[in-house]
Symmetry: D4
Subunit: 254 residues, 8 copies
C-alpha cells in the first residue's frame, strides 16, 4: 500500500464512508504493507527498481514457466538464471518472446526492446576464455536492467599488453566488471588504471590449488587497488545487478 492508497483510506474514514472497523482491518498489517506487502512482486519493483529474478538451479522447467507466466503479466523484463539447456527448450517453447542464452545459461523475456536508461557504460572484462560464461551472465543482466554494456574478453595478466590495447575503452567506462579465475589478478590491474568502481567476480576456473574459486576470491579481496569490491564466486548475475545499481540515474528510483 503506497501513500496514495493510505490517503484515500483515511479520507474515506474522515468522510464516514469506511467504518473504523474496516479501516482497522486494513491498517493492522500496515507495518508489513508499508515496507513490502502481500503482492510481493509489485512492491519489490517499486522498492528496489527491478523485479525478482528467478534462480533456476533446482527448479523444474514447469516451475520456471509457472513463475514467469505470472511475472510477465506485471513486469517489463523477466530473467531466469542458471537454467540448463534442456529446461530452456521447454521454457522457450512455452513462453513467447523468451530467449535462451546458452553461454550464460540465462532466459530473458522482455516486453519489446529493453530501453536504455543508464547514462554511463558498463564494461565487462574477463581474463580467459573459460571465464566467458560468467562474464556473459553479468553482461546480460546489466543489459536487461537497461544499461549500455560493452565487453572485452581474454585479456588476462599473462599477456598484460592485450589489456592495454583497450585502454581508452577501459578509461571511459562508468562501471567495470572484471571476471577472472586462477590467480584472480586482473581486477587489481584494471582498477589501477581507472578511478571508477571495479566489481571483481572470481570464477571457479582452474585446478589444483585454485580451490574452486577461493584463491581468486581471496586474491580479489586483498587487491592493492582500493576501488575494488567483490561478489561471490561465479556470481556474474550479482555483478551485473550491482553494476546496474551504480550506473542507473538516482532519480529513476532504481
Amino acid at each position: 500500500m503506497d501513500e496514495t492508497l493510505l490517503h484515500q483510506l483515511l479520507n474515506s474514514v474522515a468522510r464516514g464512508q469506511t467504518p473504523v472497523a474496516d479501516a482497522m482491518a486494513r491498517l493492522r498489517h500496515l507495518a508489513v504493507e508499508d515496507i513490502g506487502c502481500a503482492q510481493i512482486d509489485h512492491h519489490r519493483s517499486l522498492r528496489k527498481g527491478f523485479p525478482e529474478v528467478i534462480f533456476g538451479q533446482g527448479k523444474t522447467g514447469e516451475q520456471i514457466v509457472g513463475i514467469m507466466t505470472r511475472m510477465i503479466e506485471q513486469e517489463r523484463v523477466v530473467l531466469a538464471t542458471r537454467v540448463e539447456a534442456h529446461k530452456a527448450d521447454y521454457i522457450t517453447s512455452r513462453i513467447e518472446g523468451a530467449r535462451y542464452h546458452p553461454d550464460a545459461r540465462m532466459v530473458v523475456w522482455s516486453k519489446g526492446e529493453i530501453a536504455v536508461r543508464g547514462k554511463g557504460t558498463i564494461l565487462v572484462l574477463c581474463a580467459g576464455t573459460s571465464d566467458i560464461p560468467v562474464a556473459k551472465e553479468a553482461y546480460l543482466t546489466a543489459r536487461a536492467m537497461g544499461n549500455p554494456v560493452e565487453q572485452i574478453y581474454d585479456v588476462g595478466v599473462a599477456g598484460i599488453h592485450r589489456l592495454f590495447r583497450y585502454r581508452r575503452q577501459v578509461e571511459s567506462a562508468s562501471v567495470l566488471i572484471v571476471v577472472a579465475g586462477m590467480e584472480g589478478a586482473l581486477p587489481s590491474v584494471v582498477a589501477g588504471m581507472v578511478g571508477r568502481p571495479v566489481i571483481a567476480v572470481p570464477t571457479s576456473v582452474g585446478y589444483g590449488a585454485s580451490m574452486g574459486g577461493l584463491t581468486a576470491l581471496f586474491a580479489m579481496l586483498n587487491s592493492c587497488s582500493s576501488n575494488v569490491a567483490v561478489v561471490n564466486i561465479d556470481n556474474g548475475f550479482g555483478a551485473g545487478y550491482f553494476a546496474a545499481t551504480i550506473n542507473q540515474p538516482r532519480q529513476s528510483s532504481l
Copy 2:
C-alpha cells in the same frame, strides 16, 4: 607524456628541430610514460581522482611524516590509515593541520575545509558497538574524498526494529556501507530495503567460530540480496573509497 607533449615532439621532428635519435630516446619509454610516469603522485591524482593513501601499519612515525610532507606540497587532502596512537602524537606535532581520529586510527590533513562534491549521501551503518572503529574509518575516508556522509550505529539484526526506525534515512541514501561482524547478517537486511548499492564490510569482531571475520565475510558474499558487494575484513577504508567512486559525479574525473 600526454597528447600535447607528443604533438609538440612530432612537430619538432617534422621541423627538423629534434633529431630522430633524440626523439627515439624519448619515445622508447613512451609505453610507460603514456600510462603513468616518474612523478607518480601527480599522475595518480589525474588518473584516479584521488592521491595515494598512506598505509600506516608497519611504518614508523618518521616515515609517515616524511611521506606526508612531500604529498602536502602537491595534494589538497592526505590520509594515513592504521596509525597507532603513539605514532599519531609524533605526526600531529610535526604536520600542521594534521588531525588524528583515534577511533578510526586515521590521520587526516587537508588544505582548508574539504569541499563537498558528491551529490548523493553515503550512509554508514554498523551492527554493534565493536564495529564502530571500522565504520569510522569508512566514514572519514568517504568524507575526506568530498562526500556528504551520515552514520547510524548499533542497529544489528538481534533487534531489527532498531534499524526500521531509520527507514527514511536508509531509503534516501545514494550509497550504503554496512559494517558487521559475528554472523554478518545486516547487509542482507539493509539491501533488501533499498535499490541502491550496498557495500558490505565484515569485521573481525567475535570469538570462537567467527574465524577472525571469515564467517561474516562468507555470509556477506552469500547474501540473498543482489545489490551487495563486499570488501576485505576490517577494510573500512576500502569501503569508504569504493563508495566515493560510486557517489562522485562522473565528470569530476574521479
Copy 3:
C-alpha cells in the same frame, strides 16, 4: 538389573539360598546390566522416550524393510530418514501403513493417528524455497513425536517484511526451528523477536563461498542473539527431534 532385583539377590545371599560364588557371577556384570541391556530397542524407548530412527542413507530397501518390520512390533511410531524415492516405493509396498514424504525423503509409519502430547506449538520457518526439504524433515519429525507443528516458508531476510507479517504466530510459538542456507541470517532475526528457544538449521543451499553450508553454519554459531543453538548442516531431523525434547512435558518421560 534394577534395585528390586538387587534387593532380592542380596536377601537370597543373606538367607544362604544363593551361594556367594553365584552372586558374584551375577554382580560382576552389574555395571553393564545396570546401564543398558540386551534388548536394546525397548530400553531406548524407556530411556529416551522415543525409539531409534532408521538412517536410510547407505541402507538398501530390503534392509530398511527388515528393520521396520521388527520395530513395528514394539513401537507406536517408526521413522526412516534420507530414503531415496526408488527405495521408498519398495518400502511402502511392503510395510502396510508406511507413508513416504518425497520432499523430506522420510518414511513414517504409525499405529493409528499420532497422538498430540506437546502443550506448546513448534514453529518451523525457512528462508528460501530451496530450504523446504530440510524444513519438512524437521516438521515431520516433530509431528511424529507428538507435537503440534506449524510452518512458514520463504521468509528470508532479503525481504524481511515478509517475516513480520507472521509476527503473532512467531511470538506465540513454544519452540522455533529456523532453516536457512546462503548467509544464514534468518535465525538471528527471528531470535531477536522472541524469548523462546530457536534451533537454527544451516542448509547446503548456495554456491561459491557457501562452502556446502559451512558459511550458514558459522553465521548461526555467531548469532548476536543468545537464544539460538545450532544443529548440523541439513539436519532437519535433528532439529525436529531436539525441538520435541524441549516441547514435551517433562513428566511424559520423553
Copy 4:
C-alpha cells in the same frame, strides 16, 4: 503503538478531531513503532523476558560501569561477561552489590536474591578441569536467569565410569549443558543416557590439531545422539541463556 492506540486514533479521525494529515504523520512510522520502539531496554525485557547482557570484551571498566548504572535503574538482574580481573576491581568498587566471579570472568548484580522461577533443574557437566571457566559462565548465567542449577566437573570420556557415578543426577535433570574441549565426545555420551535436551559447548582447550576448538565443535555437530544442539566455542553464556529459555515456564513470558 498497540491496538488500543490505533483504535483511538482512527476514532479521532472518524470524529474529525484529528486531521488526516496528522494521522498520516503518525501512521507513517507505524511499521517501526509496532515492532519495537525508542526505549529499547524496556521493550527487550518485555519481548525476550531478560534484559540485554553486557559483553565486556573490548569495553573499558568506565564504559561497563556507565552501562550498568543505567540498567540497574530498570532491571532486577544485570550481567557483564568476559570481564578481566583488573576491570572487575574497578567495577565492583563503584557498583554496590556487584559481585565478580573470577573463574567465569563475570560480574553479576541483582536486586536482592535472584528468585528461582524454573521448575526443572539445569545440570552443567564438563569434561576436564580446563573446561571449568566456560562451565562456570554457563552456571552463573542460568542461575542469574532464575533457574535451579547443579554442576558436575571433570567427568571426561577417558574415564567414562566417573560419569556413571552421577547417573541419577544426570537422568533427573530438565536440561543439560555439556562442556568439553579436545575431542568433544562427552555430549554424545551424556545425550545417549537421557531423553532431555543437551546443549553442547565446545571449548578451545587443547593444542595441535584441536584447532582452537573447531575439532570439538565439529565433533559435537556430528553427534550420533539426536538430542544435542550446539553453541559457539567457549560460549558458556549462550549455553546458560539457551538452557534458561527451555527451562522457564512458558507463561512467565521469558
Copy 5:
C-alpha cells in the same frame, strides 16, 4: 649384498684373486645394495616381514592380475585393497585361490591356510554399521598377516552401555583397532578402559560438518586418552597392518 658376500669379496682381494679395480666397481654401489637391492620384492619381505600390498584403486583388473601372478611365485600371502566388484570378478576367475571380500573390497590369496603367529588377540571395534567396510578391511589385513583377530560392531557412544557388555573381551585384547565416523568419540572411551595400544581409524561416514572424515580424524588426534594413535581416514588396511606390527613376536622378524 649381505655380509657373507662382502666377506668373500674382501678375502678374494686379500688373496689377489680379485683385482682392486674390480672390487672397487662392485663396492661403488654398495650403498644401494647394502640397503635394498635389485630384487625388490624379496628384500621387502626380508626387511619388513610382509610383502608389498597391491593398492587396487586406479589399477585395471589386468594390471592387478599381472602383479599378483608375479608375487604368488615368491610369497605366501598376497593382498589387493580397494578393488571394485567388477575387477574382482576378473581377478578371481584368473587367479586360483584368490578370494574376494566385497564388504572390505579386498582380494586375498594365500598358499594354504594362513598360519597364526601372533600371541595376543587383535580386537576390531566399530561405532556404527556404516563403519563396517573399513573395520572389515582392518580385520582381513590383520588376519592375513597371521594374527588372531576378533570383531565387535555397532557399539557407538550414543548407547555406551552396548560397549560395556563386551568389557572382558575389550580388556583381554592385545591390540585394539577402533573404527568410527561422525564425532569419532569411540576410541577415547575404549582407550580409557584399557592399558593396551588403541589404533583409531576415522571414517568418512556422516554428512554436513563431518568434512569427509576430518572431524573424526581431528577428534581422535585430540583424544584425552594417551594410549591412542591414529591412521588416515578410511585406512582400515593401515590399521590392520600397524596392529600386526605390534602383535607379532619380535623374533619372527616382522
Copy 6:
C-alpha cells in the same frame, strides 16, 4: 572395588555380619566402582598400568605441587608435562626428588631408580634440532614408564645419508618414535627401513605454509609406508606413552 573386596563383602553378608541395607548402599554404585572408582588414581594404575600424568599447561605451580604431593603417596613414578621453567623452580624446591628437564619442559619424580621392564628398545629419532624438545618429551615419558630408550637427533631427509649411518640401531629397535616438522617426511623413510611399528609425531616447527604443524601431520597420515601411526602435533608425551604400551610385556598388566 576389586574382586577381593567384593568377595569379602558378600561373605560378610552371607555370615550376617553386614546387613543387607549396608551392602546395598555399597553395591549401589558398583557399576561405577567395578569400572573405576572414587579413588581414581589407584584404579587407574590398576586398569591402565600407569598413573595419570599431570598436564601442567594452565595450572599454577601451587596446584601442581598439590596434586604431586597426593600422588607421591600412592605411586612410584609421577610426571608433569608442559611445565614452564618458573613453575618448575617452585615445584622442585618443594617436592623432594622431583627433577626438571627444561628441554622437554617435564618434571619427573620417582621412588628410587625407575626399573626397566620393557624387553625391546624404544628408539626416538628427530629430523631437526628444533624438534628436540618434543623428542625429549617422548624420551622421558617412555623412560619413566620403564623402557630402555635410545635417541638419534638431527637426521632429517635433506641429508638422508645421516640417517643411514644409524641403520643397525634403527633396525634393532622394538618400537620407533619419529619426530619431524616442516614436510614431515622422516617417518615414511624410517618406516620403509623396518618392519616394526613407527609412531610419527608432527611438530609445529616451520613457518609460512607449515600451518602450525598441520602440514607435517597430514603428510604423516598419508605416509606411503603402512607401519606408521600418528599422534597429535607436538605430542611427544603421547608418543612416548603409546610406545610404552607397545613395548611393555603383556603380563605386566600395563
Copy 7:
C-alpha cells in the same frame, strides 16, 4: 612495432613523407604495440621463446582442431594438454602428424623431429605408479621444448634404496622434476642429494587426509632442502615448461 619500424616512421616524418597526424595515430597505441601486438602468437614466440599451449580442458575437439590448425601455420611445435581420449581421436584424425599420448592426455604436433637445444639433461622422477600420468606430462612438455629428458619412476620414500640405485643419473642431471602424491616427501630427499634445481610437483593421488593434493603441496613448500620450488597440484605441464626455461641456453632467447 619493433625499433626498426619506429626508426623508419620517424625518418619518414623527418623527411615529410608521413604527416604528423598519421604518425600520431600510429604512435598513440605504441604503448601496446611496443609490449605486444595484434598478432599475439608471433609476438609470444618472440617474447617467451615458445608458443602458447592449448589448455584442452573445457574445449571441444572442434575448437582444439581450429586453434591447432591456425597455430600450425606459424609454429614448429604445438601442444594441447588435458585432452580426453575421445577428443584426441577426433583431433588426430584431422591434424596430420598430431600424436596423442594417452597417459599424459597430451596431443603433440611438430614440424619434423623436435630439435634438441638444451645442453643439460632434465630428469623426471616420480614416487608411485599413480603419479606417472603427471610425470609423463612433464616429460613430454620438456621434450617438445627441445630438451634431452630422462625418467625414473616408482622410487618413493617407503623404499628409499630404490632411489639410491639411480644416484649417478640423479647427480648428473641439469634440472630435476620430482612428482609425488600422498606425503610428498620425495623432492626433499632428492634435493638433499644434489645441488641443481629441483621442481616439485604435488599430485592429487591418495585418499582421506591427502586433501586432493594439498598435503603433498604443503609438504613440498616446507621442504627442508633449499633447492626446491613448487608448481600447482597435478601441473606436470608447468613443471616441464619451467624446467625448460632453466635448461635452455640463454642466448637461444627462450
Copy 8:
C-alpha cells in the same frame, strides 16, 4: 669416504697391510660414508656446492656464534638467516668480519670479497614496500652465493606502469625473483613479459582474508603464466638459493 680413500683401503688390503676384519669394519658403513659422511659440512659443500645455512630462529646468539666459528674454518661464506637485532649485536661483536643486514635479518660472513661466478643476472622485484625485507633476504642470499643481483622495489600491479618503466632490465635478467603479498599478482604479470624462469615468493603482508600469505601463495600457484614456480611464504632465502642453483654455471659443481 671419497674414492681416493677407498682406493687406498683396497690397496692396503691387497698388500696385506690391512687385515680383512679391519677393512670390513670400515666398509660396513660405506653405504653411509659413500653418500655423505661424518664431517657433514665438508661433504655438503662438495655435494651441493654451498655450505649449510644457519637458521637463526629459535637459536641463541651463543649457539649461532658457536656454529659460525666452526664453519668459518672450513668455508668461504657463512650465512645465518632470521636473526633478530639483539642477537646480531652479540654475533657481530664476536665474529670478525660478520656483517648484519637488519632489513633482511641476515648475518653474512665471507673470506674477503665474494667472487662473482654466475654469468647471468638475477633480478629481484617486489610489489610493495612491506615486501622489502623478504626481497632483501633473497638478494643477499643470491649475492652471497656468487651471483650478480639487481633489485627493483615497489612495482605492484595497482600501478602496473611503474613496472613497465623497467622493461629492459626485466627482459635482460637471467632469473627473476618476484616477491608479493596481498593478492600476489605480480609474478604472473612479470612472467608474461619474459621467457626466463620466475621464482614467486608470497609474503604474509596484508590483513583480513590475506590469511597470513596463503592467498598470495595460492594465487601464485595458479598463475596463468607457465614459467613460474613458487617457494614457501616469506621464504626469501629459499628463493635466492633456488635462483642461484639456476644461474650458476653447471661445471662449477654447484
